[in-house]
Amino acid sequence: MSTTNVTSSSIEEVIPDKRDQFSLTDYIGPAIVFMAFIGIWYLFSTVVLPEQKRFLLPTPHKVISEGFFVWRSGERRGLQPILLSLWDSAKIALMGLSITIVVGMSLAVLMSSSRWLERATWPYLVAVQSAPVLALTPLIRALIDGTQTQRLLVVVLIAMFPIVSNTLFGLLSADKSQHELFTLQGASKWTRLVKLQFPAALPNIFVGLRISAGLAVIGAVVGDFYFRQGGVVGIGAQIDVYRNRLWGAELITAIILASSLGLVVFLFFGWVSRRAIGKWHIINRGH
């Protein structure tokens, strides 16, 4: 029998690609907000703050000239010590984030495979999430040796929850009929996880990653405050020093750079996410 292919597919049209394209308008918004931010900053450091407290918030141009354009002055002042501290904290944040991803995703996989385990673990995850980690610092110091390990633990505790909850939610998001398709072929649990649940979870995993990445940076900076030793210290410890000595320009420079680190990490994972799932994941804005 001849196979006469009905070429009806030419009649049913392919839905055209309608992706979020980058355009100039995408930059105008952030630019306006940035200008407004700088304006308000000037307003505060020249008008709003009482004169004797203005050293706390130097003007933007003073921060640039004294914070960014002094390479090194003494042991702690200048851009170089700030950047060294930032790099020290960035390493802790990235290592902590890596540990969080491995542990958090494994935990989510275990929880997705057993309702019993899910129910047993949830309350404690929520508790860790809401516990003031800073209040635990004496305990952490007593239980764990080594500043690096202590700082990593703070990062992991602070960044863990979004990875676990989003991965778990994603792993459980595959359709019933998609699962049945796998059941009909006698697929193993592992095959189901790798070929169905994990890919289905990717959009959620990336949401979790972006949140956890930001939290990892916060965790690293906060951990620096409490766990430090001689030599190069983390950016959080550096900020603490500037704060105590009332070095306003350096303080603001360090804060800006620490925030930028969070922003870079956030943008990086957004980029990875678009590379990994942008081709198939549907974004609905409702208009």
Partner: protein
């Protein structure tokens, strides 16, 4: 009428199959039917009468609580109500999926997938993602996926129910062409009497819950069937009889 003994050549046979769910709902009551190679049997019935449960028992997604169901479980094609494509896979990779789950080597499954895509007329769309396809094309991709392993028995769970009428009729024609070309036995579930008569060698009418087969109609029209068959008087007459039986089923 419903007590047809399972013949030895039947590819799928139900013998007094009953189904009571855990919570006590009786879905099926003593259903017997058998389907041979080259037969295309359609079940129509009121919503919630247990039509889909028949397919779920045949495919072992549910275990029947009474009677026996005989089928070669390794040779089932199952087409769901929705296309159940994996959005992260292209059309070609979606069509390969079942062969992949059966651990066929990559070159073999690519070849089989290409053939199946050709059969359903999706060539040229191999690299598209499901979100880029219309509903009808997604259903074609879903059909192609089931065709890859060349199953002897095809189970269809209202596959075209969500499509517009023109697309549905076009896919009816294509499925009939595949049915003749591949020679599988088909068990088809639908709400549409016209679709049932147009596709099938036999139409079974099920009663409201608990589902029982209350009428059986042989469809005398020869294959290949043409689109205009739907407007022949004999076709209309048969549809009328089935509709009448179906109304009885609601009471």
């Amino acid at each position: 009428m419903s007590e047809v003994p399972a013949s030895s050549s039947a590819l799928l046979s139900f013998n007094n199959v009953s189904m009571t769910f855990d919570e006590g709902t009786k879905a099926l009551d003593n259903v017997s039917l058998s389907i041979n190679a080259g037969e295309f049997v359609t079940v129509v019935g009121p919503s919630g009468c247990g039509k889909s449960t028949l397919l779920r028992i045949a495919s072992n997604l549910e275990a029947n609580t009474g009677g026996t169901c005989t089928i070669d479980r390794n040779s089932i094609g199952y087409v769901f109500q929705d296309a159940t494509l994996m959005p992260w896979r292209t059309v070609a990779r979606n069509v390969e999926l079942i062969a992949e789950l059966h651990k066929l080597p990559k070159s073999d499954r690519q070849k089989l997938a290409a053939e199946a895509i050709e059969l359903v007329g999706l060539n040229g769309f191999e690299d598209k993602y499901p979100r880029q396809l219309s509903g009808g094309m997604r259903m074609r991709a879903s059909l192609a996926r089931s065709l890859v392993m060349k199953p002897k028995v095809f189970l269809f769970d209202e596959p075209f129910g969500a499509l517009d009428e023109i697309t549905r009729e076009r896919l009816n024609d294509e499925l009939l062409r595949l049915f003749q070309h591949e020679g599988f036995a088909g068990l088809f579930i639908t709400h549409s009497i016209t679709e049932a008569v147009y596709m099938s060698t036999k139409v079974l009418v099920m009663s409201a819950r608990p589902g029982k087969i209350i009428a059986s109609f042989d469809v005398p029209f020869a294959y290949p069937r043409s689109h205009d068959l739907r407007y022949e008087p004999e076709f209309g007459e048969l549809c009328g009889k089935i509709s009448h039986a179906l109304r009885g089923a609601h009471e």
